[in-house]
């Protein structure tokens, strides 16, 4: 029987090639989008799960409010790990990491340095806690001795070629020599941090044992069966027993006193597998993603799958009406309802399976492009793991059965004679359902169009928003510390080049980076409660003009005022927090020691307009600028039409003063854009998929319009014979569809409005959702629908009426 069904199914599908193509292709595109997003989401959810003990590893987060400083950090005090291991039997092990950033690295004896990023210190327990298999070396001993380093296979290849690196030494920044004691497999891409170099923690000249400094990412491994939630209640004991005495010693107050005056000390555990999607702490080892994106993409995938399924159902149902006669005849010939249902189901499941196969081909072809926009390294074979097989099978079966069920049950339930007499117009009977589905489809398309436009406008807004300084054509030199003593000379030499209008040596640039707030106090008031938590940046005379910041009042640092070493420039936020009515000439204290006994007095000489230095998701915090020429960031303002040539000249100067060091630079606006790369990526992915969703919806509409036109050919023929014009027939056929699209727009508008406002809520600086977005989205939808439908209507209207009228 099944063979018979299959034979008829294949014949039917072949007979209506155009329809079959539209149906299979539409569904395949939808399924392909879903598979891509599935790959993406599964990858996001798989972060850090490759560690065998992943479910028992937790990172310690620190939340401290101290002197107006509110800090949520991924780092904790250095004694935390060892203390927990010593005091609590629930803890099996711990490992600390300390990110050191970028180094220039070469094999000892070689001349050429390579830039290596994300180098970090690690405890020797690294390989006991994490699953990082060593290809060469003993994991028990690799990081025990100071000045040892474990490198990845690709780093080994870069620095040692095919030689065995074990026992050889690497020179870091021309200063530190580390011996290679192990080569580990490259870290997987789905880890919340990645590095090619783990340097033994004991190489660090750190003042160990400080409970008030937070500099180490600490991961603890709990014993099996330990409840992390309950375990974290022990942190209070740790605070009282260890943090308290040091606070007493350095700040002169007990923990309880500090807490009473509004300060906060809290530690908590976050499961390692939650870090990538849920952690929003400062000082992470690498930027994290956001569970929000996973939800957004999943929603888009569901949208697209729904749209594609609806197409499939719509077209199948529509077309089945054409087969009413066949059903009638079959019933008269003795077919029972069950057999008819079987036949329709076979047909649609067959189509769905073909669509799934085509979808896999599409995924294979588009994956490189998708990897590009999502900056992932997904491969198609990730789809063929056992967990996915049910999805690959159930999806087409489910879609096929669902799509086949309606025509199957609907048609097969008719009394054959009424069908044969042509008394029931099946095309019209199922029209209600189809209309509903078309409305639903277009509703989702409109929501997607609105969503895409709002996301794009918001990203655009962020990128063009006046950030408070002029970030065009500001060039910053990376690793300027390589210049050492030559820094000033280099700056002065470069400034002489034509096309360079200014240059500055400073501690910080207004881009996100690791830096923390420290307190300033109003003169004479050293109580913690009076502290104003402020970013304190050491700059030089030329900092403000180089970066194009604007002074609101007062003056910039000036050579005419000597060293100007007691002057300070505040930003508007800082002035507000201090509560200065007339800030110029006011004095503030800066704490020079940890105990709060030595203060230096500064006089406010100027107020700089607020500028953004962190993501626009955050509000602008307090900033204070002070003179400190001994700093590491060198930046230049350029004004040249031929930037590449100018950069070449700067590079030549660099080569003279920092021989052997790679010259590397970036433009400030690039660094700024990097902040929004995640948003841009999301925007791009959403855009791509909404275009696809709309295309799929149109494909369905196209097929449906073709079907409707076909159904009404007789009517069109009659009308033409009675004198109808082409235009009036196009109008007749398009009217119905346009009405549906209009209804869809009406329903979609409030949903999209609500959804987009929810999305924007997350941004400190955001656009309003403009009304015209809805008008535009509506117009686009109507336009697309009209073009799609009128193609079919015009075709139908131009047809020679005799063709349809003759055939009786």
């Amino acid at each position: 029987m099944l063979r018979n069904y299959l034979k008829i199914a294949i014949r039917n599908l072949r007979k209506q090639r155009g329809f079959t193509f539209i149906n299979i292709f539409g569904l395949a595109t939808g399924l392909a989008c879903c598979l891509l997003i599935l790959l993406y989401v599964v990858d996001e959810l798989s972060f850090d799960r490759f560690h065998e003990k992943a479910d028992r590893i937790y990172r310690i987060n620190t939340d401290i409010k101290f002197g107006g400083n509110d800090m949520h950090m991924a780092v904790s005090p250095d004694p935390m790990g060892p203390t927990l291991l010593k005091d609590y039997p629930q803890v099996e092990n711990f490992v600390r990491l300390h990110g050191r950033g970028t180094f220039l690295v070469k094999q000892t004896g070689q001349t050429n340095n390579l830039r290596e990023n994300d180098i970090m210190y690690a405890d020797s327990t690294l390989f006991d806690v994490f699953t990082l298999p060593l290809v060469v070396g003993n994991p028990k001993r690799a990081l025990v001795e100071p000045n040892t380093v474990v490198i990845s296979e690709s780093a080994a290849k870069r620095h040692f070629g095919n030689e065995n690196p074990l026992g050889k030494t690497l020179l870091f920044d021309n200063a530190f020599t580390y011996r290679v004691t192990g080569v580990m497999r490259d870290m997987p891409t789905n880890a919340h941090f990645r590095t090619d170099f783990f340097v033994c923690m004991r190489s660090d000249n750190y003042e160990w044992g400080r409970w008030l400094s937070n500099n180490h990412q600490t991961y603890i491994l709990l014993k099996k069966g330990v409840d992390a939630q309950r375990f974290s209640q022990n942190f209070e004991t740790v605070i009282q027993k260890y943090v308290g005495p040091q606070a007493q010693e350095f700040v002169g107050a007990t923990i309880d006193q500090l807490r009473q005056s509004g300060n906060r000390f809290e530690y908590s555990l976050i499961p390692m597998t939650d870090i990538h999607l849920h952690s929003k702490q400062n000082i992470e080892l690498a930027p994290n993603s956001d569970i929000q994106y996973v939800y957004t993409f999943s929603a888009v995938a569901v949208f697209i799958l729904l749209i594609a399924c609806i197409n499939f159902m719509n077209l199948s149902t529509a077309r089945s009406a054409n087969r009413a006669k066949e059903v009638g005849v079959r019933k008269v010939l003795g077919s029972v309802q069950r057999q008819l249902i079987g036949q329709f189901m076979t047909e649609s499941v067959l189509m769905a399976i073909l669509a799934m196969l085509l979808a896999l081909v599409i995924v294979a072809l588009t994956l490189p492009f998708f990897n590009d926009i999502s900056s992932k390294q997904l491969t198609i074979d990730q789809l063929f793991i056992p967990q996915f097989l049910p999805v690959l099978l159930v999806l087409p079966l489910g879609v096929g059965l669902l799509a086949g069920s309606y025509p199957a049950f609907f048609l097969s339930s008719f009394r054959p004679i009424s069908v044969l007499k042509g008394k029931i117009n099946l095309g019209l009977k199922s029209a209600g359902l189809r209309s509903g589905l078309v409305v639903f489809q277009f509703m989702m398309s409109v929501i997607l169009i609105v969503g895409t436009m709002v996301v794009y406008r918001q990203i655009n807004f962020i990128q063009t928003k006046k950030v408070g300084f002029n970030r065009n054509q500001v060039l910053t030199i990376n690793e300027a510390y390589a210049l050492g003593e030559q820094t000033q000379t280099f700056k002065d030499e470069v400034r002489k080049l034509p096309g360079v209008t200014n240059g500055s040596v400073s501690g910080y640039l207004p881009v996100p980076s690791n830096r923390s707030d420290s307190p300033l106090f109003p003169e004479g008031q050293r109580e913690q409660s009076k502290a104003v938590s402020t970013q304190q940046w050491g700059v030089d005379y030329d900092y403000i003009p180089t970066l194009g910041m604007e002074l609101k009042e007062g003056r910039n640092f000036s050579r005419e005022f000597g060293a100007d070493s007691t002057g300070i420039i505040l930003n508007e936020t800082a002035v507000k927090v201090f509560g200065f009515k007339d800030p110029i000439g006011k004095r503030v204290w800066r704490m020079l020691d940890d105990e709060g006994k030595v203060f230096k007095t500064y006089t406010v000489i100027g107020v700089v307009k607020n500028f953004h230095f962190e993501s626009l998701r955050q509000n602008i915090g307090s900033v204070a600028l002070m003179m400190d020429p001994n700093q590491g960031a060198v930046s230049f303002r350029l004004n040249s039409h031929d930037i590449p040539a100018l950069v070449k000249q700067i590079e030549a100067k660099w080569k003279q003063m920092a021989p052997g060091m790679p010259f590397s630079y970036s433009f400030l606006d690039d660094s700024f854009d990097a902040m929004y790369r995640a948003e841009q990526r999301v925007g791009q992915i959403v855009l791509t998929f909404s275009v696809l969703a709309i295309l799929i919806a149109c494909l369905g509409l196209f097929g449906l319009a073709a079907f409707m036109a076909e159904q009404r050919t007789k009517e069109i023929g009659v009308r033409k014979v009675l004198g109808a014009t082409t235009a009036s027939i196009v109008g007749l056929l398009s009217k119905d569809f346009l009405r549906l699209v209009l209804i869809a727009i009406l329903i979609a508008t409030p949903i999209a409005w609500y959804g987009m406002n929810a999305w924007l809520k997350d941004f400190a600086y955001k656009i309003d959702v403009p009304w015209w977005v809805f008008v535009l989205a509506g117009t686009v939808a109507v336009f697309i629908a009209f073009v799609t439908v009128s193609f079919q209507s015009i075709k139908a209207a131009l047809m020679n009426p005799v063709k349809s009228l003759r055939s009786e």
Partner: protein
Amino acid sequence: MISLQNVSKYYPAGFGKTYVLRNITLDINEGEFVSIMGPSGSGKSTLLHILGMLEEPSEGEYLFFDQPVQKLSEKRRTELHRNYIGFVFQAYHLIDELTVYENIETPLLYKGMSSSERKSRVAELLDRFNMVAKKDLFPSQLSGGQQQLVGIARAVASQPKVIFADEPTGNLHSDHAKEIMDLFKKLNKEDGVTIVQVTHSEVNAEYGNRILRLKDGWLESFQVPTLERE
């Protein structure tokens, strides 16, 4: 009124072509009632479609009210359909989605008639065809004969000069057929509408004043129009 000069119609077939109509020369005057007869496949419907400007002849010339039809624009042809020509089909070809009333009204809509004019015209036709009680029914709720009555009412609604009917009684019982033929006769006599019908029945053919016989695409006999003989 209608004049065909050496009209032929052929379809491409393989390397050659199959002639469906050959060298037809024919004149039909206003007020005539012409019956076209012939065996199945002889080209009757094709001839009628050419006369009704639904198909183009492959060769020859067709003058409708002295205008060469080949040269007419699409727009002008649509206009002729609206105002000069009515069609009646064997399979009725009513619009299933419209009621009896609306079916009859459709050509008047295309003609651009005002709503009150339409109302009175449709009412008049319903009355004349005894369909007042059925005006709100859909075609599927009517018998074949009743459907054909609606078809004819629709054809005459726009007061055409000529009605082309392709086997209008082909699907009907002879009683109904007689009714329809009487109606044609009446339209022809009282309203002066020219009628060209295709029929297989000699009885029905006799309603006309002239019979054209087609065989293999040739016009077989030529009877001198009775109008002129009288």
